[in-house]
């Protein structure tokens, strides 16, 4: 992952003075510059990107509650990540089983300004990962708006971070058992989108539907906000996927290229299908297809080429749209903003397709030595399956815990009058 330029400097330096060399080998300013930027971009995805994306889709009287959910999750998860999350996810498992890390890095202890992780400061790696830990539970906000208790948002999100996100992150990115099996998840098809999507479905089921679902729900109160948020997510995703290279080089560059192409293809596929089905494409739909494309390319962004990205994006747009209808109209689960259909399905689909399109012949980077397409597909399927199962089970437990601690669902009055006013004492718009 290091740039060649650095290698060279190191080689030359090594001769001169070994002590300097070790140090010089480590910090790469360019990688650091890019990762600082990428970190800002990923934070931007949650606040304000995702908050607005979701906020525009709900009824006017609940818009602030959705923003509040995202803001509160961002704040609370950040402290939890500092306290224990990062350490549990990214330090070695003493047991050797690769299930969960230790507490050596709790509160970033022993991490000074010049402590490195790879070619970048460890504090920067911590922050970059923090932004992922923040956005993942924030994605789940789309499952429960307009009817959840605010305290339940806090309890579920915190517990979920610890029992779902942190272990899965360790398994896949922290050197845990799935990493050892060779699962490919470049930027979070499994760690982020599968976990969030599956958990959203479970949570939506346990919470029950909104009043009037599915016949009398209202359309988004401000699709413009949603498009604004989608634009921010699009741009921020360059940091999400491009930053996951951890280097400022061709890996990052190709990652943003395929990311962008898949997003475009996802938007086109969704819009085209709406045009066929309903006679006209909607902007909310097109933006949703965009996000579906982005979620689906995420695990693959380090492994596939531009042509594969088109295929991945198109499949994402089509399948995710079918799934929104299936979940809501057939399964009758009010996963209100389609977190499962878009992120869950997208993450799973992308993780599987990664096994396929990583193939050299399909323009990908190829498999690790000793691995082939079938083997890789098997590993990907195993990873996705186990993580989906664990997410479902653990989310069930989180929800029950929250139900015990103050309740899950807001009183009916709040649902009618609006969570904004009842839970937060505010109104979204005072237009006079």
């Amino acid at each position: 992952m290091r740039t060649r330029e650095l290698w060279l400097t190191v080689l030359l330096a090594a001769a001169a003075d070994p002590a300097w060399a070790a140090d010089a080998a480590a910090l790469n300013g360019a990688d650091t510059a890019w990762l600082l930027t990428a970190t800002a971009l990923v934070l931007f995805m949650t606040m304000p990107g995702l908050a607005l994306f979701y906020g525009g889709l709900v009824r006017m009287r609940h818009v602030l509650s959705v923003l509040m959910h995202c803001l509160a999750i961002a704040s609370v998860v950040s402290l939890a990540w500092l306290a224990v999350g990062y350490s549990l996810a990214f330090t070695a498992d003493q047991s050797g089983l690769g299930l969960i890390g230790g507490l050596e890095r709790a509160f970033l202890s022993e991490v000074a300004r010049d402590t490195l992780k790879g070619t970048v400061p460890e504090s920067l790696f911590f922050m970059f990962q923090l932004t992922f830990a923040v956005i993942t539970p924030a994605l789940i906000v789309g499952a429960y708006p307009e009817r959840i208790r605010f305290s339940a948002v806090l309890v579920v999100s915190l517990l979920w971070l610890l029992v779902v996100y942190v272990p899965v992150c360790h398994w896949v990115w922290g050197g845990g058992w799935l990493a050892k099996l060779g699962v490919i998840d470049f930027a979070g098809g499994i760690v982020v989108h599968t976990t969030a999507g599956v958990s959203a479905l479970v949570l939506a089921g346990l919470l029950g539907p909104r009043r009037g679902f599915p016949r009398e729900v209202r359309p988004p109160h401000s699709p413009g906000l949603t498009v604004l948020g989608a634009g921010m997510l699009w741009v921020g995703w360059f940091g999400f996927n491009g930053g996951s290279a951890l280097t400022a080089d061709g890996n990052a560059a190709m990652a943003i290229t395929v990311t962008h192409i898949a997003a475009s293809a996802g938007a086109i596929a969704w819009a085209a299908m709406e045009w066929l089905r309903f006679g006209r494409p909607s902007v909310v739909g097109t933006a949703t297809g965009l996000i579906a494309g982005l979620a689906t390319i995420t695990p693959a962004a380090g492994a596939v080429g531009p042509a594969a990205a088109i295929a991945i994006g198109l499949l994402a747009g089509l399948l995710c749209q079918v799934m929104t209808t299936l979940v809501k109209q057939q399964w009758r689960i009010d996963d209100t903003l389609d977190v499962f259909a878009v992120h869950g399905v997208g993450g799973i689909l992308g993780s599987l397709l990664t096994g396929l399109f990583a193939a050299l012949v399909l323009g990908g980077v190829g498999y690790a030595e000793g691995q082939n397409m079938l083997g890789q597909l098997g590993v990907q399927a195993l990873g996705v399956g186990v993580v989906a199962l664990w997410s479902a089970l653990a989310t069930f437990f989180c929800a029950k815990a929250a139900a015990a601690l103050g309740g899950l669902r807001a009183p009916e009055e709040a649902e009618i009058e609006g969570l904004d006013l009842v839970a937060h004492g505010e109104r979204g718009y005072d237009l006079r």
């Binding site: 599915p214 729900v217 209202r218 359309p219 988004p220 709406e274 089905r277 309903f278 006209r280 909607s282 909310v284 739909g285 949703t288 749209q321 079918v322 929104t324 209808t325 809501k328 109209q329 389609d338």
Partner: protein, 112 residues
């Protein structure tokens, strides 16, 4: 004195106002409303599903008038608001007891 209340299509508002001005009406009050009637609402597509919205945006105008003007005003509104399509709206007329101009305290016909 009469009060003429009409519910019309929003884009006919300017035409109606011009028609009323032409017959000597000097003031009116406009409210944005939603109508429910024979004219169906529309459907909105939202993430793979269609939703029906029953209410149609309309504009309500209220005009206080002398009895003499009332008849002509009804005609003027009807002519100007009409597109011939369903949902063109209604005109209602009822009796007013009093009218006062707040600024001057003038009453009834002088207040209009």
């Amino acid at each position: 004195m009469k009060l003429l209340m009409a519910v019309i299509k929003p884009h006919r508002l300017d035409a109606v106002r011009d028609a009323l001005t032409a017959i000597g009406v000097q003031g009116l009050t406009v409210t944005e409303v939603k109508g429910y009637g024979r004219q169906r609402g529309h459907t909105e597509v939202y993430r793979g599903a269609e939703y029906v919205v029953n209410f149609v945006p309309k504009v309500k105008i209220e005009i206080a008038l002398s009895d003499e003007l009332a008849e002509r005003a009804v005609e003027a509104v009807q002519a100007a608001a009409r597109t011939g399509q369903i949902g063109d709206g209604k005109i209602f007329v009822y009796e007013l007891d009093r009218a006062v101009r707040i600024r001057t305290g003038e009453t009834d016909a002088e207040a209009l």
